[in-house]
Symmetry: C2
Subunit: 587 residues, 2 copies
């Protein structure tokens, strides 16, 4: 076995052609064993085994510097750079992250998890190298799916203007997470079909030199291609054609489903843990399809993640022209939605919390400055979602919550979410974003209204005194639980309020609370800084009302345990009650 | 005279070839008269007179819909769509904005002021048209300078995937605000030089049909070109070659200086009001050039607005490889800066407050998640700067202020700014942004420190009691003025504090204030929501300390009067004192 002897890239360079091929097979087996037991990105990593071996065979990492886009395809890179143990020893599976990580290895130059950033980051490494008068190779490795993002295209054009060594490996597996979308993919196709000779060449049009390698899963082909441009003095693209999911039949066949997955049975490909409960995404797709049937002007939009709103391939087909995937292009998605709304149709753009931050300016300028009634369900805006530091759902309230004209709603349960979505799609006055609640789905129907046009009207669900608890969105149930315990344990009959609106405060209701409350507690499922609670504290600043804001501190938490994070931030009912009683007693 | 008879596009269609030419001359004269007396965008509008006439001659606005990118070139469009009076009658000059505006006219579909948005917005109009089963032409008009922006490139690729009428007029005047930067401009050049026949074609590579018109200032050429693609069923680019500043010799000659200007003498081209006092930008360039001389690893970066940091052409030349213009590509700029810092050099990216919002995700993920020590002076983050609703400097604190790991500093005067800039460039621990103060330059030197590495340490400049005033950045002088009046008029000896850090609070100092203060006042030059003051209010929420936050309400204010805006937001010293005394008396 070669794999277990690979401690650094130097060990790769010692192997001959057939040994490298064996190494690739061993690595692929190790990947499959780990992935089937542990879950992770499947297709992207299976496709990149040979290319990664060839990169480390030809170049001298870390003197030569590789930057992986998204870096969800960097498992082989980790294996070859001192982290093989984390793929061979099940006890070590969690000792590496799913992305490149600057703390893990000197061979990793950035913490990366979002798409389309590698070329620009690598341009920075190259520029510094030139200023320092050094001579190493800088290599960005980017998938075809990531090319549609604005940052990648800005990066390509800027790389094309550099008069220096700058290598961009385009790993073309003909897929994004789902299928690719965008005119640029037409020319990638003609390039593949012409063995790289088509005159319709995006990379040349961006000012880059260009090399094509059809067999992107053949180590020798790749070694030759990389050797041919090693130490180049010009910005150069090496376009390699790989097979996503290579070596595992189910993943080769159904590339979209096997992009990322939970643990699965290696023989059958079936997931080890079936989850049959429908999620918010699936229910959203169902809801929207009904809307589409009734109204041909309803259109759902995704930026490369159709299943965030439950649009699996079959439902996309069903929606037809009423479903648009713009590729990984969040900026375009918001501007498109604004244009659609401006021209009288009803766009619904579903997006992950962690990705909506790519389009702040378009939200502000293209959409909200024009007050167009686009609808934006934001998913996984919660601490109970993705817990990699690159994919946190902590920040959307600080971002969307402070943009003029935007109405950002926080439903507390399933029914309220769909009531709000229904209203948002019917009204024509405001851009409306909706923070789909995080955590386990709550069926509750007590908070249902049909009209949310009277903006910033909070809803009192229980009238009490002394303490008022504002439980925003998913944290409304925490407010209820705090209230129950306050009653049973402390004899305090607290008021419970569902704020519903993130983007404004109900000054009238807040004013009324002063008459028989001493303390207002705010609970929010996101960072406190720039969020909801601080606005309440500011409102009461000139009064005797005490305010306690509960939420997350501003940080890039990484692979955290939910319960621990809650406790660290005093977000358990007992901690909240303790803090509240302290304030009541001190005054 | 034809111009004054043009009340709508229908009046344009009635003119014959020679009348159209005369109309163009009249419009150009009117533009020059207005611009020389009023100021505005000069070069972009002089270059677009003929193209705009041809567009309105061929297409049927507003049924056919034109979307102008940035829309700083839309003056001729305004003239031909019922707003000629605003260019002929000096009393009406201010009756139209400098950008397209949905309230002004049914021929304007969006409020636009930022670049690179037109293609995506137009795609939205086209999609809605198709869903409604209508047949009009949708036309985006975008300058070559705007093509480098990620949103425009995302838009081109998505337009190229549409199977419908979608027309993109590329107004190629070979210029951005300054000269163009990026590999894509090499292929624009080969297209121009080959009369549109070069195989190196970015637009075709994006999946678009393509038509070239060399003489973009000849009405007949343009009418033919537009007629040839009117009612097309495919996404199509019409690439027209125009002359920026056409018809005014000084503007044709020095395109960068004449992009935008204050009133000038039409004969000599000299500005009517000379301003010889150096601004923060010019001083920054001077400072950085000295740094560059000493250290070849210092590099200044701009995204298409080199003069924001005072880098006029001569200084750019002087800086050589230590100055990088990435074109209009803010996302790339931040990632580039992060990469440069990661590889041991010292990047300084100067950017306008209104444009940094285009790169939130890159600030968060590419830069701050990696904690790379890039330096970002943010200019015009103030209510005393640009006052068009599209270019407000109100929002940067709510954006940058809540990103983990970022240190956002608020200097109060010139000396403090340069002390902070010097420190930021020396330290290697944090990404540091600096909010260059707005308003008239303050020389003051009393706040100078050399080391800002002890984060979030506020600085007390006057010790008093009862009231403490935190004057952030440019509003520190307001704090001083409030303190003086409190003393002279109310006999209150207020404490004055320079917070210096926007991204964190000095809990120790705030705790100490409790001993002999009843009220803390915060003053900030930006929106309150998500800003600095709310964090102070939240800190004191559980105490008896009263807090008053002063700043702007969250809104897209438009062409406001500074004094009126200050008064509306209680930001004059008398109003602040009145509010403060009210709070003191009520308790």
């Amino acid at each position: 076995m070669y794999a277990e002897k690979i401690k650094s890239p130097a060990d790769v360079k010692r192997l001959n052609e057939s040994e490298l091929t064996t190494l690739a097979q061993e690595m692929r087996n190790a990947l499959l064993t780990k992935l089937s037991n542990h879950g992770g990105h499947i297709g992207p990593n299976l496709g990149m085994v040979e290319a990664t071996i060839a990169l480390h065979y030809v170049f001298n990492s870390p003197t030569d510097k590789m930057v992986y886009d998204v870096s969800h395809q960097s498992y082989s890179h980790k294996m070859l750079t001192g982290r093989m143990f984390a793929f061979l020893d099940p006890n070590e599976y969690d000792s590496v992250t799913g992305y490149t990580n600057i703390i893990e290895s000197e061979h990793d130059f950035f913490n990366v998890g979002h798409t389309s950033t590698s070329v620009s980051l690598a341009c920075g490494l190259a520029k510094a190298r030139d200023l320092k008068g050094e001579k190493d190779n800088i290599i960005a490795i980017i998938g075809d799916g990531s090319l549609s993002g604005g940052e990648a295209l800005e990066g390509l054009s800027n790389a094309g203007a550099m008069d220096t060594n700058m290598i961009i490996v385009v790993n073309d597996n003909e897929m994004s997470i789902a299928e690719n979308h965008g005119g640029l993919y037409k020319s990638l196709k003609t390039l593949r079909e012409s063995n790289g000779t088509s005159s319709n060449n995006l990379f040349k049009a961006m000012g880059l030199d260009y090399v094509y390698a059809e067999n992107g899963n053949d180590i020798q082909t790749l070694i030759e291609a990389f050797n041919s441009i090693k130490d180049t003095t010009h910005p150069t693209v090496v376009h390699i054609h790989t097979l996503k999911g290579k070596g595992y039949a189910p993943a080769e066949k159904d590339k979209e489903s096997w992009h990322w997955g939970m643990p699965f049975d290696l023989e059958t490909g079936k997931p080890k843990f079936e989850d049959s409960t429908p999620d918010y995404g699936e229910l959203t797709a169902e809801f929207l399809l009904k809307k589409m049937e009734k109204d041909p002007k309803v259109v759902a939009i995704t930026s490369g993640t159709p299943t965030v709103m439950g649009f699996y391939p079959e439902l996309r087909k069903k929606a037809g022209k009423q479903f648009v995937d713009v590729g990984i292009a969040e900026e375009h998605a918001i501007a498109l939605a604004s244009g659609i709304a401006a021209n009288g149709a009803t766009p619904v753009y579903g997006v992950y919390s962690t990705f909506i931050q790519r389009t702040y300016d378009q939200l502000s300028q293209d959409l909200c400055l024009n007050n167009n009634p686009a609808v934006i369900p934001v998913f996984m805006g919660t601490l109970m979602g993705m817990n990699d530091m690159t994919h946190l759902g902590f920040f959307d309230m600080a971002i969307l919550g402070n943009i003029p004209n935007l109405v950002y709603l926080a439903p507390t349960c399933k029914n309220e979410y769909f009531s709000m979505l229904d209203w948002a799609m019917t009204q024509k006055k405001h851009p409306v974003a909706i923070r789909v609640p995080g955590g386990p789905m709550i069926e509750g129907d007590s908070h249902q209204d049909t009209d949310y046009s009277e903006l910033n009207k909070f809803k009192t669900t229980h009238n009490g005194s002394e303490i008022a608890i504002l439980g925003l969105g998913a944290f409304f149930s925490l407010a209820e639980s705090v209230a129950e315990k306050l009653k049973s344990e402390k004899g305090i009959n607290a008021t419970v309020i569902n704020p519903r609106y993130i983007t404004g405060i109900d000054t009238e209701l807040l004013e009324e609370l002063k008459s028989n409350h001493k303390l207002v507690i705010t609970l929010e499922d996101g960072i406190l800084n720039g969020g909801f609670g601080e606005k309440i504290a500011s409102f009461y600043g000139d009064s005797n009302m005490k305010v306690l804001n509960f939420g997350l501190k501003k940080e890039f938490a990484d692979r955290y345990n939910v319960q621990e994070l809650l406790e660290e931030n005093h977000l358990t009912d007992n901690q909240i009650i303790e803090d509240a009683i302290k304030v009541l007693n001190q005054n």
